[in-house]
């Protein structure tokens, strides 16, 4: 039995048991469904995307209040008198989604450009504010709330009983999980996962991280609003209490306790917290001899324990236990016949593709790069060498869009790149690797390499959710597989990247860069950590790429590797270019020898 079979079996059993549940169980299960819908959005946001929000309860509140207001307010009734009463809740859903999207977008626009902790702090303030707004607006019934919210009707059939509405709740939840599962298993899904391991890598692969984070935040908010809409029509009454900040924090706890990196973890967390709360509210006051909201102590301690001992939540523990009985899905390798991705023509050999002119970078009083000139031609391997602290990494950042020069220009394929983000460099055909390896450690080599092909696909979130991207996805994975084969990593294709030795991880980074079909390849210390034979294989690969017409710039400390491979060498010392020429010319240059061996060694000629 595979995990897919198991999921279907569990859903079928759940559906069969539905009519047998008692009224109280139905209520609990309905609430678990509603909470899961919110928590699953938080899983996407926190566990997958690496950002978080304490304000989801406020978005639930927007969804609930929007429909309650449309369905009960005299003002709305007057304006919408032409519509049948059964249409009002659906209009309420649209209003709730629209208002939620607008507010989430606004909050995101303000906080997402900043460091990651400003979004949660912003949502903390927003979650607190909205509670007071709901409670103080007379039009929304103040702290007493709005009563008389009608039941949902679909095609004249009234969903007034919780047992019937529960079917809709769980159908919506399962659909959402299916769509999110599909999204994660796609080009855009890989881009979302890349957000968490540092945005510099994702941007360098062409991912617009600001946009992805925004979409993720709005998506999570919209799922909350849908939950609120269902809640209003289940409860038939809304007041501010279920939407205050503490509940917002509770939603986050559900996601984290369940397992914030796993969609089903949200359902597990929601179930656990709901059942636990139910029990605790019953016997804690008896135990402590006082009445009050004491379950927060237990929840808080539980949360601290989970975060300290099992930061990935409880789902992975259960999944590990279940692995004895359930086979994992076999990796899909079948589509070898997938269409090839479109390729663009490389610039003719000898044409200068990357040009840095008088590039200077100052950090306060420190001049890290001083008027550095460097160009890389198509069909050559250009090496940039220099002692530690010479400013090589700073320069690398500036010719790849990670940082801007203080003065001077960088041109890629003839285009001035001043002030452009690194994804614009990637879009023009620049591929790069990192000195400190930046891979998604838990994901397979195949998925990591496929991230590099991000810009060669175009299907968006919606087509991924609905599985309309399968043709393109097959082509992307086929391309990734080709690059993996070419770099000699085929035996590791399904291995998690973090379990490879560091030297091999560097090769994975090269394969990832190649998957983007670059015209210019920037390699930051590619040979570090490789054994002799592996270095030879790498040199052969780079020579082959040069023959194909790529422009390759290598930063490397291994002199034997550099001198045997490079066509030209630029030497940097204290931020200044001290030599440029063929390996032989550079090796003979007295200033270079002085830089490497010390200036007061007259016998350095040897």
């Amino acid at each position: 039995m595979t995990s897919r079979h198991f999921t279907w079996l569990a859903i079928a059993l759940f559906a069969l048991a539905w009519p047998l549940f008692g009224a109280f169980t139905i209520t609990l299960v309905n609430y678990i469904g509603l909470y899961s819908l919110v928590a699953v959005g938080l899983v996407m946001l926190t566990g997958v995307g690496g950002i978080t929000s304490f304000g989801q309860a406020a978005f639930v509140g927007l969804g609930a209040y929007a429909t309650a207001w449309i369905c009960t307010s005299p003002t709305a009734a007057q304006a919408l008198s032409a519509l049948p009463a059964g249409a009002l809740p659906w209009l309420g859903l649209l209003l709730g989604l629209a208002v939620t999207a607008l507010i989430a977008w606004f909050l995101g626009a303000v906080t997402l450009p900043l460091a990651g902790h400003f979004l949660p702090l912003g949502t903390l303030a927003w979650g607190l504010s909205l509670y007071y707004i709901f409670g103080n607006l007379d039009g929304l019934g103040g702290f007493t709330g709005i009563t008389g919210v009608p039941a949902l009707t679909i095609g004249g059939f009234e969903l007034s009983s919780p047992r019937v509405l529960g079917v809709l709740i769980w159908a919506v939840l399962l659909l959402a999980i299916w769509a999110l599962h599909n999204l994660l298993d796609s080009r855009e899904g890989r881009a979302i996962r890349a957000l968490k391991s540092g945005r510099v890598m994702a941007e360098s692969m062409g991912v617009d991280t600001g946009r992805q984070r925004m979409k993720l935040f709005v998506l999570a908010a919209l799922l909350s609003a849908v939950s609120g809409w269902l809640y209003a029509h289940l409860q038939r009454f809304v007041n501010p209490t279920p939407f205050d900040l503490n509940i917002g924090i509770e939603y986050l706890f559900m996601a984290v306790v369940g397992g914030s990196g796993h969609l089903w973890g949200a359902v597990l967390g929601a179930t656990l917290i709901t059942l636990l709360k139910e029990q605790l509210q019953d016997w804690l006051p008896r135990l402590l001899g006082a009445s009050g909201n004491f379950e927060v102590i237990v929840f808080g301690l539980l949360m601290l324990l989970v975060l300290q001992r099992a930061a990935d939540g409880l789902w992975p523990l259960i999944a590990a236990g279940a692995r004895k009985f359930i086979k994992p899905e076999a990796p899909r390798h079948a589509q070898t016949t997938a269409a090839e991705l479109p390729r663009h023509a490389l610039p003719p050999a000898g044409q200068s593709v990357l040009e840095a002119r008088e590039v200077t970078k100052r950090f306060g009083g420190l001049v890290a790069n001083n008027a550095v000139n460097l160009d890389v031609k198509a069909g050559e391997v250009h090496a940039l060498i220099g002692p530690n602290g010479a400013g090589k990494s700073t320069f690398f950042n500036m010719i790849s869009g990670v940082d801007d020069p203080t003065s001077g220009t960088v041109a890629l394929l003839g285009q001035a790149m001043a002030g452009k983000p690194s994804r614009a460099f990637a879009a023009l055909g620049l591929g790069r690797t990192f000195q400190h390896v930046r891979l998604l450690g838990q994901r397979s080599v195949l998925e990591n390499v496929a991230v590099g092909a991000h810009l060669r696909g175009h299907r968006g979130w919606l087509s991924a959710m609905l599985r309309r991207d399968r043709h393109e996805e097959a082509a992307l994975l086929a391309e990734a597989r080709r690059q993996i084969e070419r770099c000699g990593l085929t035996q590791y294709i399904d291995t998690p990247a973090a379990s490879l030795p560091l030297g091999q991880q560097r090769i994975v980074e090269i394969a990832r860069a190649l998957a983007g079909q670059p015209s210019v390849l920037l390699l930051d210390e590619p040979a570090a950590g490789l054994r002799h034979l592996e270095k030879q294989a790498l040199a052969e690969l780079l020579a082959q790429l040069r023959a194909e017409g790529l422009a390759v710039l290598v930063v490397e400390h291994d002199m034997e590797f550099v001198m045997n491979l490079a066509d030209r060498v630029t030497v940097l010392e204290f931020g200044t270019v001290i030599a440029l020429g063929t390996p032989a010319q550079v090796q003979a240059d007295p200033r270079v020898m002085a830089a490497y061996l010390g200036s007061d060694m007259p016998g350095a000629q040897a």
């Binding site: 978080t52 379950e295 002030g419």
Partner: protein, 342 residues
Amino acid sequence: MDAQIALMLGQDGLVTGAIYALVALALVLVFSVTRVIFIPQGEFVTYAALSMAAIQAGGVPSAIWLLLGLAVLTLVVEAWRHWRGLHVDWGSTAVWAIVLPAVAAAVALWVRPAAAWAQTVLALLLIVPMGPLLYRLVYRPLAHASVLMLLIVSVALHWVMVGLGLYFFGAEGARTATMWDARWDLGGLPVSGQSLVVIGAAVVLLAAMYVFFERSIIGKALRATAINRVGARLMGIPTDLSGDICFALAALIGAVCGLLIAPITTIYYDTGFLIGLKGFVAAIVGGLMSYPMSVLGALLVGQLESFSSFWASAFKEVIVFTLIIPVLWWRSLNTRHVEDEE
């Protein structure tokens, strides 16, 4: 509104602003040294205020049981770490988990001081050791976690502390005796001695912090840690020590805030959270980095709160918390390149 009401509101705003400035100072300190966004800062305010109320009522402040519990738990954890072969600094452990709690327990249970200054010292003795003890129990095992993870931990700890506050202090609110009940009338503007005490204490504490960070070796070590954590460790500044001191200072500042504000307003077990969050709004004005900007932010928050309670009291909180939107927006305008998050 006439000039007199405006002056009164301004004075109120200045007093609460001074409290928020102290809270913001503690938050910036803790964040810059340990990367912890310390949501439970407000709980120290509550604990100190409610303990002081209990002491003044002649009872045993139940915070002592909490302190002793934390101390015993910490000793168990440290012994376990020692047994597992990890390095344990028993000297500092003895100070935070044995000496100070023992002194606090002796004073609280047997001395039961009647003099105001001794009561104040006792309240501080009860709260200050909680800072390093909580750091060791809660944050130290997660020293390498991301800022985001530490933030979630802070929220969890906030819940635990609010729940424990309700259990130990009860749902009843409390006020303490004023420290200086003089009153003056300056051209129609009533000025209370207590508000002068608050402002004076805030200024003295801010100045003391400045001297501590500029002159003392420990203060300089904390600043070095804030600027570069790894570099500071390589220079021999122990991370654990900076964590201990940082959280002790945060608890001290929080406790002082609690003692200052309790004579002015009734404190409930959950009041501290809102005070802490307003401190956060101020600290965010300073980008969680700059002390002077945070103090300015706190004064702004105090005035905003004071004047909005006059014009739109129902929306007071909304207005204060919405302030961070334009602040963050202004900050985001100056950020262009994506940065890697820790």
